[in-house]
Symmetry: C2
Subunit: 191 residues, 2 copies
Amino acid sequence: MDLLIQAIRNYIPFSSADEATAQKLFHRKEYKKGGHLLTAGETCRYVVFIESGLVRYYITKDGEDQTAYFNKEGEFVCDYPSFLPQKPSKVSIQALEDCVVWLISYDGLQQFYKEVEYGERFGRLGIEEVFVNVATQVASIYTDTPELRYKNFLHNYPAIVQRVPQYYIASYVGVKPQSLSRIRKRLSRTH
Amino acid sequence: MDLLIQAIRNYIPFSSADEATAQKLFHRKEYKKGGHLLTAGETCRYVVFIESGLVRYYITKDGEDQTAYFNKEGEFVCDYPSFLPQKPSKVSIQALEDCVVWLISYDGLQQFYKEVEYGERFGRLGIEEVFVNVATQVASIYTDTPELRYKNFLHNYPAIVQRVPQYYIASYVGVKPQSLSRIRKRLSRTH
DNA sequence: CGTTCAGTTGACTAAGGTCAATTCCCGTGG
DNA sequence: CCACGGGAATTGACCTTAGTCAACTGAACG
């Protein structure tokens, strides 16, 4: 739980009374590699803090996966479009490694907002940060070629590159595994 | 200002004292068609509520525009990735029609959060909503073909279709104007 | 009437998708 | 220790679709 408290303290002042509240509202859980934190069709009931491990957040369309994000230890993950209005999710979240996580339920989070002095601010700052990431993502998909997106991925997430199969990276970049393979070939030749 | 107050009341209880606070913190401004609310390179200093008119939010890359969103009367618009951390923006926001807007500055918004009872909640709910839109956008760009994106645009924003030139829609869909023209041709033939 | 600019159309190119075969890697079991 | 099996990654041949360059049409406006 230390890593979680520390993550919260990155955003707001957090007293020991607040810590007790967090102790009460967050629950520890483990997932095996390959297990699902959320399956499309379910309603996303928790915001998840990843203490250790790695997950991917993916959209299924016509029977195929599109991995939209990766999240690793020290980060929060959640399908907000399902969680916030508490309606069924269109996406899935899967553990790519064994994971230890801390869950807070929707109601628990509302309670957190009330009981923790800067709780509302935490909620706002947290979502603001996620938002900026997503907005950056949109800009990148719009304006960058797959090749550039792959190079940026290597540059921005060197830690993750080593930890996930290439076909997940391909879908993150927005191409088929075959095409990513060709892009890699082009890059290795030109440079 | 009525439309603004009404928009806020969609999110939170809003007393007449709060209305006075809003009166103090929001400033009216007008933009001519073609004018810029924000130019790439500037820091986005305001959250803008559109009382009337229509704007586009676009990214410039290699000298070309990519329109990522449209916003119309009754909606808020802002480049959060610039506004929240108060650093230079990579995007521009342009009036596509004459606009009447209400501005609130970064400091003004912090004050709003403090002085308005449910201010923090308003900030959180507001950004949550924008966030869900952007997340939907990401999913769509990842998984939908340009043709489907165009059909969805027609379906989701029938009001806007009539009000903007086709080449802005093309860039929103993610293709060149020539390609959108061909997509339209395909669609008119098949159906 | 001519200028301008959005929109369309044509010919050709480039790049990713598709289908299929092959190679590589790694772990398992004989 | 080696052979095998299975999934990941690569490669090849061909297809589809958007990009590019350029010409042309059409409507708006002075």
